[in-house]
Symmetry: C2
Subunit: 334 residues, 2 copies
């Protein structure tokens, strides 16, 4: 090898060294550009740096870096009503020719009239009736196909954007930042697990097996000799409030070290996370930006944030003001 | 840099090149030394090579390389009775001072007399009674602690080895081989999920969140202001037979491309796997080695293999003869 060859080799090594340094430093400013340089971002970065620093008393091995994220109001918007309700509305419309009586029958009539105030205030029993009519009776594969079509074609009534673009850009960046630091990220949502799995991987980089949600009972059967799994019109598990730490235990089997929510429905999983030994991180997204998103908390029918806000203040959990702490809300239009 | 320095650099690059080549070729002979060079090993390697070869019509992206493994009789032994029954026996003994009546009361009496034939033949109702008495009433953290202690101290009655050493060395190698090829490996077992999670990571390299099993209901509550999750004496989900594909859908949310079982309890998840589109792999471990392990199939109370054996033969699923196809059964004594 002559001197020129040797120089080329040295250059290759220098390039490799830069690439490797890039992998190991993972500076937060590269990962969280949509976060303003305010307290929440600083708290996130400080937490990640201390749990990933080998030899530090707060070090957590990569396998135990479990992070749980609520979905509605935490990863994507939830106004004027949970987006799964819009999906139900479209399903009811699609099925209406076979069920003309729904036009005058509750809970269907309110949904068809888009009386979202009535829908948001419905008791669980009515919601289950809607779920049974719109989310059951088909195979899991068929349902997944329906959701996949819907998520790319339906549009949000206010913004006109597809629902999978109504996600929060700062949270998408946060998910990536955590994963780049050895975290395993999970969705832990009150939404239907079969409703979320078809699109969350593309939206958030979270695979189907890392989604915990509410569910209906399922049945395995042979149809024309072909095995299928059928969705039944019967509730199996409600992953909300005290159900969220239970869902975490059932599906993940270990306590998260970091949990992100936005409403009273997330209070118990935030408590469960914060009460673990070692360094823990609990964060609440506060919807206070009526201009760029929506402003609501203690009195809202959707995503009510009241008791959890008091507890966050009392216990020093991180509270994100969407108005002050986020430079951008939604991703750029595609 | 002088010539010597340059040579040193070239040597480093050569070493790096060898390391990288090692990562990319992943030759099976390095990964499956406890498998004889017979048909099952060849079938496994051929399957892995075709689904991982980019550009091949059978290529499966890494994220979709889901592999499901039954536990009892597939990853560890299950004779003379499922090992969780030995755990129950030890729990009943530990709790006997507070329940002297158990000595003469079924189902406890049979268990205490180690009448494993009676225990193996017990209807589900009786097993649930045993589970309620031995697996409930404590927090999930407390239960995990009890299992962790038991798995390292209890001994198998025939071999005298700890139960977590009664695992199959060829299957441990297979798990590693699959993971090295981008597969995500899951346990999908009829055993209790909370009973498996504390030790499977060390034994098989499978983290708690990749364990699907049977479960009891759980409740979140505050004890002295501290959040805990309590195990209730009520069955939640039985992950066996037709429950296994349901468990896969509930907890994983996508169909495995490769599934490994040993009994009729695995038949439906093998069917569910094999019926998927694209390349699929279904394997049954046949216990036919009375000398090094146990020999049983169609008539056994534990791990009965009858209908699934017929289906495996009819559909050309891979059948492993422990006697002929495995060079070693258990890992070397520690």
């Amino acid at each position: 090898m002559d001197r020129t060859g040797c120089t080329a080799v040295r250059r290759s090594i220098a390039v490799l060294a830069i690439i490797f340094a890039g992998f190991t430093t993972l500076r937060a400013q590269d990962h969280l550009p949509s976060w303003n340089d305010t307290a929440p971002k600083k708290a996130i970065v400080a937490f990640v740096e201390k749990v990933t620093k080998e030899g530090s008393p707060d070090f957590v091995p990569p396998g135990e870096r479990i992070a749980a994220f609520d979905n509605d109001g935490t990863l994507w918007a939830e106004q004027p009503v949970y987006f799964q309700v819009f999906f139900m509305e479209d399903r009811v419309k699609a099925l209406l020719p076979q069920h003309p009586e729904w036009k005058h029958e509750e809970p269907f009539a309110s949904l068809l009239k888009r009386d979202m105030k009535a829908v948001a205030a419905m008791p669980e029993k009515e919601i289950v009736k809607l779920m049974a009519a719109t989310h059951a009776g088909m195979t899991t594969d068929e349902f997944s196909q329906i959701v996949t079509e819907w998520i790319t074609t339906a549009r949000h009534p206010k913004t006109g954007r597809p629902f999978n673009e109504m996600i929060y850009q700062p949270m998408v960046e946060l998910l990536g930042y955590l994963r780049a630091n050895g975290f395993k990220t999970f969705v832990v949502s009150g939404g239907g697990v079969e409703f979320m799995r078809p699109w969350v991987e593309k939206a958030y980089g979270i695979p189907p097996e890392q989604v915990v949600g509410s569910s209906a009972k399922l049945r395995f059967e042979l149809r024309d000799g072909k095995p299928v799994i059928v969705k039944l019109p019967e509730l199996d598990f409600v992953n909300d409030k005290a159900g969220k730490p239970v869902g975490i235990q059932k599906f993940i089997g270990r306590r998260p070290i970091a949990t992100f929510g936005n409403s009273d429905g997330d209070q118990q999983m935030l408590e469960w996370t914060a009460a673990g030994s070692g360094a823990r991180f609990a964060l609440i997204v506060h919807h206070d930006d009526a201009e760029r998103e929506w402003a609501y908390d203690r009195k809202s029918n959707v995503g009510k944030l009241d008791k959890a806000l008091d507890e966050a203040n009392a216990k020093g959990w991180t509270i994100v003001s969407m108005k002050d702490d986020w430079a951008t809300i939604f991703p750029p239009t595609k």
